[in-house]
């Protein structure tokens, strides 16, 4: 997520990060290794749903960005710079 | 992991036989191999048969004979001839193509279609993987197919493929919404996502089939059928294969076996959703004729041979039902004209989604209406109860509660509130 200038690459990085958190939640909800019970899986369900929603909105923003700048290189979004 | 019915048999066999090559490898590997072969057979053979059937039926509808040369008078080895022809074609890829993704896309489509067969019960106990969320997992795996289509369209490097691929992906993704809703309607009626259990409770006669459970499920069957037709890119929703419009859509640049993978996946998916419709709505492996079903069940209970007979007969019944539905799909393809992409999306978003939502609402409210309109409480018009009602209820151990119970919700008393908790009730179920 920090190495990409392509806006969609950044979105993919965000998905990976949220996925990592999900694995953590589900792993600790396993009955052999954790005490979360079913709560961990519910939390991870919510994370999945919210991550998908966030990807949708972020993609809409990227499309607007493309419509205005004709590029997806986020380094070009420098109109508010200094 | 979950229990494999055939796997345990295989494992026991291998352990008892103790043959040298076989016991060096973990027996789960052998079980997995056997399962994979069987599922692969059930994946490939229907595709084989239905490709021939399509050409024959298409020919008859168009007032000609169809294939008649290969394999006798009916040309039933035509698919084999097609396969041989396709194997010996040159394997080329366009220069502008992204080589890795170009080669990978057909495999993604085939793998997702094949993996869905793992959860399909062909008869009582004849299922590769028994999972209690079987229907949901099967639909989830089917949704990976979209990715293969998009990658195929993109990686071909030509604009026809790209347009075809994107249209196709938009269509398949949009139709997953009504597919999910209408597939959940029988789940609401049955109370379980396990496909084997859904069929088990359609035992006992034609009236127990879920399609006849309520008017909502009756219409849900037709909506489900239409939606799966669109999800499989079959006519009249077949823009991707619209040879007259897009040269071939996402599979323009593919030749030989790679092209045939797409079609293998398509025909296998057709069979899969037909079998799914048969399982969810049409009674699965029960014939619906009570004498036959009862005879089979009693034979199965009494002897192992009877169980085997039930399973084989049930498998034939499912194959016949699924085959009939595939025939209807082929029939529709060669009868109706093709829809434009905007008509396809309109159908989905403006007609099928509200329809499926309304049917879902109706199917959920139906038992409640029935409960309130009869003198004694009954959940369905017939002797049919969802599985949630059939599982023995757990009764809360009635604790000896002293005098008055002050039930609190987070420390507040419930004396003047709407919510109250009874002291010996069965509580939350």
């Amino acid at each position: 997520m920090t190495t990409k200038r392509n806006a969609i690459g950044i979105l993919m990085g965000v998905e990976l990060v949220l996925n990592g958190a999900n694995i953590n939640l589900v792993a600790f909800s396993n009955s052999n290794y954790g005490l979360l019970g079913i709560d961990g899986q519910i939390m991870s369900l919510f994370v999945i749903v919210l991550a998908a929603a966030e990807a949708a909105v972020a993609l809409a923003i990227v499309l607007s960005f493309y419509n205005n700048h004709q590029t997806v290189d986020v380094d070009q979004a420098s109109e508010l710079q200094g | 992991m979950h229990s494999f019915i055939l796997a345990t048999t295989v494992e026991n066999l291998i352990k008892s036989a103790d043959l040298w090559p076989f016991n060096q490898v973990h027996s789960g590997v052998w079980a997995a191999l056997i399962h994979t072969t069987l599922v692969g057979l059930f994946f490939g053979l229907p595709a084989f048969v239905f490709i021939w059937a399509e050409r024959k039926v298409a020919g008859r509808i168009q007032d000609r004979l169809g294939p008649t040369r290969v394999g006798g008078r009916f040309g039933w080895l035509q698919s084999l001839a097609d396969g041989v022809k396709l194997i010996q074609k040159e394997d080329l890829a366009p220069d502008a193509a992204d080589k890795m993704l170009f080669r990978l896309a057909p495999y993604i489509v085939v793998v997702s279609s094949f993996a869905a067969f793992m959860f399909l019960p062909f008869s009582q106990g004849l299922v590769a993987v028994v999972m209690d969320a079987g229907l949901f997992i099967a639909l989830a795996v089917l949704s990976i197919e979209v990715l293969g289509i998009v990658l195929a369209g993109y990686a071909s490097g030509s604009k026809w493929s790209l347009f075809g691929g994107m249209r196709e992906a938009a269509q398949m993704v949009s139709y997953e919404v009504p597919l999910g809703i209408t597939a959940v309607i029988p789940v609401v009626v049955a109370g379980t996502l396990n496909l084997g259990d859904i069929v088990e409770m359609q035992n006992g006669g034609l009236q127990n089939w879920i399609i006849f459970n309520s008017p909502f499920t009756f219409f849900a069957f037709f909506v489900f059928f239409t939606v799966t037709l669109a999800s499989n890119k079959r006519a009249p929703f077949d823009l991707a294969e619209a040879e007259s419009e897009l040269v071939g859509g996402f599979h323009t640049e593919y030749s030989g076996m790679r092209w045939s993978f797409f079609f293998l996946a398509e025909y296998a998916s057709m069979f899969f959703v037909s079998a799914l419709a048969a399982i969810l709505f049409l009674g699965g492996w029960w014939t619906g004729i009570p004498p036959i079903d009862n005879a089979l069940t009693s034979m199965a209970d009494s002897s192992v041979g009877g169980l085997y007979l039930l399973r084989v007969f049930g498998m034939k019944v499912i194959l016949v039902k699924a085959g009939l539905m595939v025939f209807v799909q082929i029939w529709i393809r060669w009868t109706l004209p093709r829809l434009r992409i905007d008509q396809v999306m309109t159908t989905c978003l403006k007609y099928l989604v509200p329809m499926s939502c309304f049917l879902f609402l109706g199917a959920v409210l139906w038992p409640l209406i029935l409960l309130s309109s009869f003198s004694e409480p009954r959940a369905t018009l017939l002797d049919f109860e969802p599985i949630g009602e059939r599982v023995p209820k757990r009764v809360l151990v009635e604790k000896e509660l002293s005098d008055e119970v002050e039930t609190t919700l987070l420390g507040h008393s419930t004396d003047d509130k709407l919510v109250s908790v009874h002291k010996t009730s069965g509580g939350a179920q």
Binding site: N19, G34, I38 | L104, L151, R394, G427, A428
Partner: protein
């Protein structure tokens, strides 16, 4: 056997994630993301969370990645656009990533897992009461759909049902599940409110994304 599978798929997931970052072409990045997400889904199945694993496949792979690829198609300005990163940027980002990895690794390795596993095993005996059995598989083997569904509707029968409920000395994380000595019973709250909030959230997202991405007249670059 399941350990071997775990290591294999964990390796694939991490490897594919690294390939996402190192890839030059956006569509290949999407493909490696698919590989990573699918292996994570398989890890979920291994952990006995069937429903969550299937949801991961359905929503992430079948939805989000397709969405991302659509975004790539709609915004690409050349067939195989590659983005060249300068070495300074790579070094800086690499340092940030490594710092984060160090933080997480140190927190993971500072937990005494062996000691905690005894505590977990001890607690597990309390938590076992009788297991509810619906369907073929046990709750611990993946039959989680029923518990998830009822918990989302606000009914936590996995907590309120055990006959051991009266003997619980400690509460399980989060829920107010206390039992007082004179026979009070409290009911766990479940997740109905977050469920409804998420539904409204999704509606808002649907409307908002459709509005943001509507077809506008393209701004001419010459006028800028």
């Amino acid at each position: 056997m399941s350990e071997l599978l775990f290591y294999l798929y964990a390796l694939i997931a991490c490897g594919a994630a690294i390939a996402v970052v190192l890839s030059q072409n956006v569509v290949r990045m999407a493909f490696w993301l698919v590989v990573s997400l699918s292996s994570v889904s398989f890890l979920f199945f291994l952990l006995g969370a069937d429903f969550v694993g299937a949801t991961q496949l359905l929503i992430y792979v079948g939805g989000t990645v397709v969405l991302l690829i659509f975004g790539v198609m709609l915004t690409s300005s050349g067939p195989y656009k590659t983005i060249q990163n300068s070495p300074a940027e790579l070094a800086l980002s690499g340092m940030i990533g490594l710092a984060f990895l160090a933080v997480i690794s140190s927190s993971v390795f500072s937990v005494n897992w062996i000691e905690n596993s005894y505590r977990l095993a001890g607690a597990k005996e309390h938590h076992d009461g009788e297991q509810l059995k619906f369907g073929y598989n046990d709750e611990t083997e993946g039959n989680t759909t029923r518990s998830l569904g009822t918990a989302l509707l606000g009914v936590r029968f996995d907590k309120d049902y055990s006959p051991e409920a009266g003997k619980h000395a400690h509460s399980h994380g989060g829920e107010e599940h206390s039992h007082h000595d004179h026979g009070e019973v409290t009911v766990s709250t479940g997740y109905l409110l977050p469920f409804e909030i998420v539904s409204v959230h999704l509606l808002v997202v649907l409307v908002g994304a459709a509005y943001l991405a509507r077809a506008k007249r393209r701004v001419d670059v010459q006028q800028a």
